[in-house]
């Protein structure tokens, strides 16, 4: 990477710096605190604040969250919260499910899937609070 390219990456004005700073720190905090939900914040932020396309927003959110996840692993590992067997088994399922999900996505209307997702979240939240 040459000098000009590095200059290009540094945001130009104060407003842009403030926006990037707030979105970046908040996403990181969520990713660290709950180890999830960063994408749910970052994708709409890219679309509505930084005016990217939906596709770019999804691509960039995965790109940005990856280093945050790796950083979070440091403290989780230090406090011995990592169950590698559980994580890897879930990960294997995740790869299969990801491929399935991308295939289903083309066939089912997400209008109804989002409703199921919302219902599940509410049910889960209530059962966790009552635990």
């Amino acid at each position: 990477m040459n000098k000009n390219k590095i200059k290009e990456i540094i945001p130009k004005n104060k407003k842009e710096i403030a926006k990037i700073g707030t979105v970046g720190i908040l996403t990181g905090l969520l990713s660290g605190l709950f180890a999830s939900g960063g994408g749910l914040l970052l994708v709409p932020a890219f679309v509505y604040i930084f005016k990217t396309t939906e596709k770019e927003a999804r691509a960039m959110s995965v790109f940005c969250i990856l280093p945050m996840v790796l950083a979070s692993l440091f403290f989780y590992n230090k406090s011995q919260y990592i169950d590698w067997k559980l994580g890897i088994l879930c990960g294997i399922g995740g790869i299969i499910g990801g491929i399935l999900g991308a295939t289903i996505m083309k066939k089912v209307k997400d209008k109804y899937l989002i409703l199921i997702f919302i219902a599940f979240l509410i049910y889960a939240a209530i059962s966790i609070i009552r635990m």
Binding site: F63, D83, L86, I88, C90, G97, I104, M105, I128
Partner: protein, 122 residues
Amino acid sequence: MLEVLSGIVSGVVSGMGMGGGTILITILVCFMGVDQKVAQASNLIFFIPTSIVATIVNIKNKEIRWKLAIPISILGIIGALLGSYITTIINTNVLRKLFAIFLLLIAIFEMYSWYNKYIKKT
């Protein structure tokens, strides 16, 4: 086997572009009795392999705006270190309750965007 199944369900949700991570943590905590912090740590590991593959594909397809993605990643790392440090020091029950509130907020946000996308427009 149940672990793999939980992964599949969350993977399907992720593949459809919704919050797969929140679903995985919820399944592990609610249905499999896993500790909140351990469940969250598992989601971190769960995220790594698929996101590395996706990122390589996305870079090849030139979907990344570096000017935006790099500063957000760097600040995000600072936030993530702070957030994960908080997680390791707070009480698990408090964290679990906070997570439940977080799920409710996501549900409200999703309802709002669902309304805007499908009801308001037509």
